[in-house]
C-alpha cells in the first residue's frame, strides 16, 4: 500500500516508537502538574469569590475574566517569548505547567464557586455559630460538600487540560504533539504520526471522560 498511510511509514513509526513514548510521558507529566496547579489556584480563587470581601471577589474576578477571555496560545507565548525580555527565562517544561495550569485554574475557580454556592447557606452559619473562621469553615464544612457537585465538571476540565497541553507544540514543548510534529516534519510521514498521536490522546482522555459521564449520571450533576 502506498500514499499517506503506506506500510513502510507505519514501520518507521514503530521503530521510532520511543519518540512518541517520550512525548506521551511528557504530556502525562505536564498534565499532572498543571492539573495540580489548576486545582490549587481554582480552590483558592473559587473560595475567594465566595467570601464577603468585595476586594477579594474583585481580585478573583480579574484573574478569572482575564484568563477566560484571552486565548491560551497568547498566555503561553507570553510566558515563552515575552518574559525573557523581562529577564525571566523559564524552561519550556515550566512554561507548559504554568501556562496550562493558570489557564485551567480560572475555569476550576468557576466550578468551585458553583459547587460552594450549591451548599445551603445554613451550613456556613452553623459553622460560624460554632466559632469557625471563614477559611476553616470552607475547609472542613463547605468544600467537602461542594466536592460532590464539582467532581463531574472537574473531571471534564482534566480532559480539556490534557488536550490543551498540545498547544505547547508551538513553543517546542517536548510533549506528545510536539514530538509527533517534529518527527513527521523531518520524514513527512504525517498520516501515521497524527493517527497514532490521536490514539494516544484518546487513551488518556476517554477513560476520564467516561468516568465523568458516569459520575454525572450517578449524581445528576452536569459537567
Amino acid at each position: 500500500m502506498n500514499g499517506a498511510f503506506a506500510d513502510y511509514k507505519w514501520a518507521a513509526l514503530v521503530s521510532d516508537w520511543t519518540v512518541f513514548g517520550e512525548g506521551f510521558a511528557h504530556t502525562v507529566l505536564v498534565s499532572g502538574l498543571a492539573l495540580l496547579l489548576a486545582l490549587l489556584l481554582g480552590g483558592f480563587f473559587g473560595v475567594l469569590s465566595s467570601g464577603s470581601s468585595k476586594l477579594a471577589k474583585g481580585l478573583a474576578r480579574v484573574y478569572i475574566e482575564s484568563i477566560q477571555n484571552t486565548p491560551l496560545v497568547i498566555q503561553v507565548f507570553f510566558l515563552y517569548h515575552a518574559l525573557p525580555h523581562l529577564g525571566i527565562m523559564l524552561p519550556t517544561f515550566a512554561v507548559g505547567v504554568l501556562g496550562v495550569g493558570v489557564y485551567h485554574g480560572a475555569y476550576v475557580s468557576e466550578v468551585v464557586r458553583a459547587g460552594i454556592q450549591a451548599v445551603p447557606r445554613g451550613q456556613l452559619e452553623a459553622a460560624y455559630s460554632q466559632g469557625f473562621s471563614f477559611w476553616r469553615a470552607m475547609r472542613h464544612i463547605i468544600l467537602p460538600q461542594a466536592k460532590r457537585m464539582a467532581f463531574p465538571p472537574l473531571t471534564n476540565q482534566a480532559v480539556s487540560l490534557i488536550k490543551n497541553t498540545s498547544v505547547l507544540a508551538m513553543v517546542a514543548g517536548g510533549e506528545l504533539m510536539y514530538q509527533a510534529d517534529s518527527w513527521s516534519s523531518s520524514n513527512l510521514y504525517y498520516g501515521p504520526a497524527y493517527v497514532a498521536t490521536g490514539i494516544l490522546y484518546i487513551a488518556l482522555c476517554l477513560p476520564l471522560a467516561t468516568y465523568a459521564r458516569r459520575l454525572e449520571e450517578q449524581t445528576g450533576v452536569k459537567g
Binding site: S129, G131, F132
Partner: protein, 243 residues
C-alpha cells in the same frame, strides 16, 4: 450575660430592628414571640453576630462584639445556636457532628470530645445513632442531635431560633422535652418559639415583638392573664387558637 443597646438593623431600606434595648441575665430563660417577619430571627442572630447591627452595641459576656477588633469567633465558642432547619453537617456522622468544633476550634482532645459527645447523645436519647448520618434520622432526631452538638461546645448561652417549627407535629414534643430538661440547669437560654406551653413551663420572661420593636415583656403569666397591648392580645389569641 447579653446586652443589646440601641440596636437598629436595616436590610437595604427595610428597617428590621428598631431601638432595641434588651439585657439577658446570666441563667435567664428568655422566650421571644411575635408574628412572622417581626424581626425575631434577626434579633437572636445578632446575639452571636450572625447579623451585624447597622447601629448600636452588642455585649456578650463582657465582650463588645460590635467593636472593630472584637474576638467574635472566641465568643461564639460559648454561645451555641440551634436552627430551625437543624443545619447538621451532612457529610459527617452524628458523633462527628458533635466533636468537630470542640476538637478543631476549642482544641479539646478527640477522646474527651467523643466521651462527652456520647454522654450528650445519651441525654437526648440518641446514643444508638452515634454512627448514623444525619440523612438517616427523622427531623425530631436531627434536631435533638443539633441540641447535643450545641451542648458539646459546653456553652454558657444557648440560642434557639424556632427549633420546632420545621418539625412534623408528632415530633415537636420530643424536642421540647429535651429543652425543658436543659432549662433546669444554670445555662442562659434565649428561645424564639410559638410553643406557649413551653414558655409557660420554663420562661422567666417573655418578650413580644412586632414590626421590629419589642412591644411588651413580662412573665408568662402576664401574657396569659392580662396582656396590655391590643397587638399582643390579637397575636396570642391567634396562636392559642391554632394549638
Amino acid at each position: 450575660m447579653i446586652a443589646l443597646q440601641g440596636i437598629q438593623k436595616y436590610f437595604g431600606a427595610n428597617h428590621v430592628l428598631k431601638d432595641i434595648d434588651l439585657t439577658v441575665a446570666p441563667g435567664e430563660k428568655l422566650v421571644v414571640i411575635g408574628p412572622s417577619g417581626s424581626g425575631k430571627s434577626t434579633l437572636i442572630r445578632s446575639m452571636n453576630l450572625l447579623e451585624m447591627p447597622s447601629k448600636g452595641k452588642i455585649v456578650v459576656d463582657g465582650v463588645d462584639l460590635t467593636a472593630p477588633k472584637a474576638e467574635v469567633e472566641k465568643v461564639r465558642e460559648s454561645v451555641a445556636m440551634v436552627f430551625q432547619q437543624f443545619n447538621l453537617y451532612p457529610h459527617k456522622t452524628v458523633l462527628e457532628n458533635l466533636t468537630l468544633a470542640p476538637v478543631l476550634i476549642k482544641k479539646v482532645p478527640k477522646e474527651a470530645a467523643e466521651e462527652s459527645g456520647l454522654a450528650f447523645l445519651d441525654r437526648v436519647g440518641l446514643k444508638n445513632k452515634a454512627h448514623a448520618y444525619p440523612a438517616q434520622l427523622s427531623g425530631g432526631q436531627q434536631q435533638r442531635v443539633a441540641i447535643a452538638r450545641a451542648l458539646n461546645m459546653k456553652p454558657r448561652v444557648m440560642l434557639f431560633d424556632e427549633p420546632t417549627s420545621a418539625l412534623d407535629p408528632e415530633m415537636i414534643q420530643e424536642v421540647l422535652d429535651v429543652m425543658v430538661d436543659l432549662a433546669k440547669e444554670g445555662i442562659t437560654m434565649v428561645v424564639v418559639t410559638h410553643e406557649m406551653g413551653f414558655a409557660r413551663q420554663v420562661a422567666d420572661r417573655v418578650i413580644f415583638m412586632d414590626a421590629g420593636r419589642i412591644i411588651e415583656q413580662g412573665t408568662p403569666e402576664h401574657f396569659f392573664v392580662n396582656p396590655e397591648h391590643e397587638r399582643t392580645q390579637l397575636f396570642l389569641s391567634k396562636i392559642l387558637r391554632s394549638h
